[in-house]
């Protein structure tokens, strides 16, 4: 029996002299979690570290209770990060077939999804020949397989048109897999009311909050007595509070504009 789907403990990722993740702690267990943060806040690096693609300087990652260093052939984890689908220089149809085989699943569901998302014309082309939005959607579909128990979706809506966004959100809502998703767009959160929410800024993570509390979450400058979390950033110290504060979180379009509004 798996105790915890995903656990990051005091995770630190360093590129040269740049500390990208600063002692991040995160647990995903029996839930869907969305990470919100501006570009460069470390969201993608966190995903890459969990997938074994980023150098972990200290701390630990466990997936299904197993340490990342001992992880082998765990087919229940999927991602939409494009670089993991560059195993060979082949057309999209072949890439779908390869990854279905490597995950031990049939390819019918993936090809059906390609059809539903009107991506059939991409099957005869290579990933690098697709538009950014098409490439993102193909990778989203590759991630969504029926054996996945933990989905790691990095900015799945970037450059994706509204119609496909809506349909993909519905798919995510219906998915039985546990999910960690990143986005820098606040508007999307309203569509995911039963998800958990974490804020990520300058390599640090705060949360988890409830997305359903979004209507009541405020951010204030300084340390508030009733703070649910205190965010120490290069722009100053901010508190996340419930029901009262300086700026209502839901009024912002993204986290950095929210903090700038509070700081003014």
């Amino acid at each position: 029996m798996v105790k915890c789907m995903l656990e990051a403990n005091q995770l630190r990722v360093v590129y040269g002299s740049n500390i990208v993740l600063k002692d991040v702690n995160l647990v995903v267990n029996g839930e869907k979690v969305v990470l919100v943060g501006p570009n460069g806040s470390g969201k993608s690096t966190l995903f890459r570290a969990i997938l074994g693609l980023a150098p972990v300087a200290s701390g630990s990652i466990k997936v299904f209770d197993k340490s990342l260093s001992n992880m082998k052939n765990v087919i229940e984890v999927s991602t939409n990060i494009a670089e993991v689908y560059r195993i060979a220089n082949l057309k999209v149809a072949d890439i779908v077939n390869i990854y279905c085989e490597l995950k031990g699943i049939g390819n019918a569901q993936s090809f059906q999804m390609m059809k539903e998302f009107e991506l059939e014309d991409t099957l005869g082309r290579k990933l690098y020949e697709l538009s950014t939005g098409q490439q993102k959607m193909v990778c989203n579909i590759l991630a969504m397989n029926q054996k996945a128990k933990l989905l790691l979706l990095d900015e799945p809506f970037d450059n994706v048109d509204q119609s496909r966004r809506r349909r993909f959100i519905e798919l995510l809502k219906q998915s039985n897999a546990e999910l960690l998703m990143s986005t820098h767009e606040f508007e999307l959160l309203r569509l995911l009311p039963d998800w958990k929410l974490c804020f990520m800024l300058e390599g640090k993570l705060w949360g988890k909050f409830e997305v359903s509390q979004l209507e009541r979450l405020y951010i204030s400058r300084g340390r508030a007595d009733n703070a649910m979390a205190v965010m120490e950033t290069s722009m100053g110290v901010f508190s996340v509070t419930l029901d009262k504060g300086d700026v209502l979180v839901k009024t912002a379009t993204n986290l950095s504009s929210l903090l700038e509004a509070v700081a003014e």
Partner: protein, 267 residues
């Protein structure tokens, strides 16, 4: 599991066909029309000349497979690191699939070189220069393709795992450079005997020479009187290199470190 896809990818690689086959035809044509003027008009001399060309040009041709393998690994380092953790793919499964794909591709390229050498040189000299053991040539080609793959993998994975990928272009071309050095070296100059036996590159060209012509293998292709090499030792040397590098590769593959392709930018 992944063999058929890697084979499809390698067979559809246009650069490989361009540099490994079309460009080698250029060398063959030079051999037929330019460098053949000093070859005596005797069947034995013509067969020896054609054999030396087949051995050397096919060696060059195989080295282009090594370049393709290098870039496949470099661009796929993140995919492999992910697949070994989060799919059914194992390092040994991937290794064997790539080994098989490289061997099949080498056999195809060798068959083309063998046919072209036979047709062009027979036409030029007006005698039937049919290869002595064409099936042995193809079997040797499969082993040679496997060697080029394990060599390329070892070089690239050492760079990917333990050094920056800034030098990836240089490292990717090492098998080609070595093939040209040893190929031309054996064609025109006397290389110390122990180097000829120890070098897998001279082993490949020598064994292909012997399989085409059926002659004893000369130390210098253009000077058959300079002494001969033992084909059994050459074959053992090539297989030993293959096995040692294969063991090294599987170890390196288990520790593959994902690299961002942008890291290889030179400017």
């Amino acid at each position: 599991m992944i063999f058929k896809y890697l084979l499809k990818s390698i067979i559809r690689n246009r650069s490989l066909w361009g540099w490994g086959v079309v460009f080698m035809f250029f060398w063959l044509l030079l051999g037929v029309f330019v460098f053949s003027t000093s070859v005596p008009k005797q069947a034995v001399a013509a067969l020896s000349y054609a054999s030396s060309y087949y051995g050397t040009i096919t060696l060059f041709s195989f080295s282009t497979i090594a370049i393709s393998i290098s870039y496949t690994l470099y661009y796929g380092s993140s995919a492999l690191a992910y697949c070994f953790r989060y799919t059914k793919l194992t390092p040994s499964g991937y290794f064997l699939s790539l080994l098989g794909a490289a061997s099949v591709m080498a056999t195809i390229m060798s068959a083309i070189m063998l046919s072209a050498t036979y047709a062009l040189f027979s036409w030029k000299f007006g005698v039937n220069l049919y290869p002595y053991q064409p099936l042995a040539s193809l079997a040797l080609s499969a082993i040679s393709g496997a060697f080029m793959m394990v060599l390329a993998m070892a070089l690239v994975l050492v760079v990917i795992n333990y050094a920056g990928v800034k030098n990836i272009t240089f490292v990717g071309f090492i098998p080609l450079v070595m093939s040209y050095i040893f190929g031309f070296g054996q064609l025109y100059t006397t290389i110390p005997e122990y180097i000829e036996y120890a070098s897998p590159f001279t082993a490949i060209s020598s064994l292909l020479y012997a399989s085409y012509g059926g002659f004893a293998i000369p130390k210098v292709f253009i000077n058959p009187s300079a002494g001969t090499l033992n084909p059994s030792i050459l074959l053992l040397s090539l297989i030993a290199w293959l096995l040692v590098l294969a063991v090294l590769d599987t170890q390196l593959l288990r520790r593959i470190r994902p690299r961002a392709i942008e890291e290889a930018r030179q400017v």
